[in-house]
Symmetry: C2
């Protein structure tokens, strides 16, 4: 048993659950902050703990380039390297190869690409992407997939989906054969340290998505991700694809929607039955002065906040809203002070984590309401 | 009574003391971190509190340009603006006008200068520099002085010193006439909120320094600063000037040495009898990856730290040394991650504050040893 997942409350399609890893339990639905280079930009790990972050995502592509997988492996793995004792998920590098690197060339074997840092040439295969993730040692690692571009004709989307399926099989085989070669590959209590998730692709074609889901499930992973969404398509289409995919994923396994979204989106998708999400939006937006509040989005650089003594969000309990005024945050941002990044990021993450907490609460209340109404109806004379 | 200062232990020339402001008591000798724009770059105020910072320095020149004195005054003063309830000292802007701005022109009336930000023209007089500092509302504010360049012939140094003395008198008069015009100008318990310190100049000429000290003391300030040092002169000369100046400053008033120094220097000057110091060195060096440790200075960008699992300083109790490795700090710095600034700055400030704590402890122990040896000698038969 590599990972345990228990569904707790269910309401409609939505559910709350507990994902148990050797680095702690995670309440789902969960939003995972992105710590690209082994750091959630500008926020120290102890503050992430204080915010209640139970799992964060780090990028294999970035860590592979800097400081290098061998370096992190020799230093005891990513948890030890970044001094983070809670759970970590790494992506496979596939998405970054497609979005960041130059001159990438996809073949059956894998993808050759040039580093966005220095132009040097590298090659990721379904096997080497898993080898890198074994070396990093995250609790949840991802199969190497091809993120199908949008829009893509059905023929192209099928080709891409088939490639991702073949890669998933190769990645899984490699993982099974090599997962115990690192110190953290040994059983940890009754659990293995690392678990490999498969990724559903298929572009925006519902039939392909259903087929991709079924065939990925046939490969038997402890969790399933939905990739290739939030790539420019309208949100209704995103929702259709999510619904079509979810109906073919097993209810007893965690379902991870990659790379989304706005606060409204993560709330909506969690209510559709998604258990895990990640996105750079709260952290990246924070660094650009875009702040999410219960009263709407705020662009803190706006001059109208220069004399505004109120907190960023009067309904927020975070350390930023508890202490600092909009006027001060505006001054820091306008003066390009580094502290602006920290304070803005802490607030936005807090807002996202609060959003998910409210969602979990609603689902639990919804289940209870459903049960209660059920009880009442059976008691009716 | 605007400020109370009590000398506690005395050992040789050195002393410990307590400086009591309406925003808390400060153990002296004290090192004051520099928060140029109302922020100690990259460190949130609650972490400064945790580090034990009892007073910080902010720069009138910078705040005057951004966000503007009127803005801060309207928002309730600098303490409220930056959400910092402990003590603040502001400099007069004189030093920045001399070191940062273009095309400055000094006259009897004051200094006209161009902003380093946008080239706009401004004018500081001894009166307007005090007016700005009244508007900011720091607990300790400084007279507007001319920082004599180094080297300076005795004739030039005297001219400059005389100008600073005339400006001190004008500034003091302005302060007495206007200090109650702000909400924080009213008595706070038995204390006024703000106190104005005089500044001793005189270049590197000991006779001028003695004369400047005496004539500044004749003007009667609640505390005295030594300006115009650490401007390129050899350290022995710095020490000579400090010693010559200190011998003409009253023992019952706080003595502030402006703009120094390395950890060794602040220790040495504290043992010479200095009560207060400030410097951008720990914070600026941190941002350039230069870290002070009990085992010497470290340039964290050095490749030799890439695989170093040990803490930055094994003898340091700060949150950085308690959690993160040199390898991780090196990775953050090499990757230009913002978190590097925060972690490096927290450590360097911790190192400076620890240094001063050790100095205070030594002075107290020294006084006790002296007393004990005195007791023993009187008991001798």
């Amino acid at each position: 048993m590599s990972l345990s997942f228990q569904v707790e409350a269910v309401c409609g399609e939505a559910r709350t659950g507990k994902l148990i890893t050797p680095h702690g339990a995670i309440e789902t639905p969960v939003f995972m902050p992105v710590g690209t280079l082994g750091t959630v930009k500008s926020v120290p790990q102890e503050i992430l703990e204080e915010l209640g972050v139970e799992i964060l995502l780090s990028n294999t592509y970035h860590l592979y380039l800097r400081p290098g997988v061998d370096q992190i492996r020799a230093l005891g793995g990513l948890h030890k390297f970044m001094a983070w004792e809670r759970a970590i998920l790494t992506d496979s590098g596939g998405f970054q190869v497609f979005s960041l690197s130059d001159l990438r060339k996809v073949s059956e074997e894998g993808v050759s690409f040039r580093s966005h840092l220095d132009g040097s040439t590298h090659f990721f295969s379904p096997e080497s992407a898993i080898a890198a993730q074994i070396g990093l040692g995250a609790n949840i690692i991802m199969a190497f997939d091809e993120c199908t571009e949008y829009p893509a004709e059905i023929r192209r989307a099928r080709e891409s989906m088939e490639l991702t399926l073949r890669w998933a099989e190769r990645g899984k085989r490699y993982f099974e054969e090599h997962k115990t070669e690192v110190p953290w590959g040994k059983a940890f209590g009754s659990q293995l340290h690392q678990s490999l998730f498969g990724i559903v692709q298929g572009g925006m074609h519902l039939d392909l998505r259903r087929e991709s889901a079924q065939r990925t499930v046939d490969l038997d992973f402890p969790g399933y991700a939905i990739g290739g969404l939030s790539v420019g398509e309208p949100r209704e289409l995103t929702c259709e694809v999510i619904a079509a995919t979810l109906s073919h994923l097993p209810a007893d396994k965690p379902r991870y929607l990659m790379g989304v979204g706005t606060p409204e989106e993560i709330e909506q998708y969690a209510f559709m039955g998604i258990d895990m999400m990640d996105c750079v939006l709260p952290t990246r937006a924070a660094r650009h002065g875009l702040l999410f509040t219960s009263e709407g989005k705020i662009s803190i650089k706006n001059a109208c906040y220069a004399a505004d003594e109120s907190p960023l969000d009067p309904h927020c309990q975070c350390r930023v809203c508890g202490r600092y005024s909009r006027a001060y945050l505006r001054h820091l941002y306008a003066s390009k002070e580094v502290l602006a990044m920290f304070l803005n990021t802490v607030h936005n993450l807090s807002y996202y984590l609060d959003t998910m907490q409210r969602v979990r609460h609603s689902i639990k209340l919804g289940e209870r309401a459903k049960l209660h109404s059920g009880v009442r109806s059976t008691r009716k004379p």
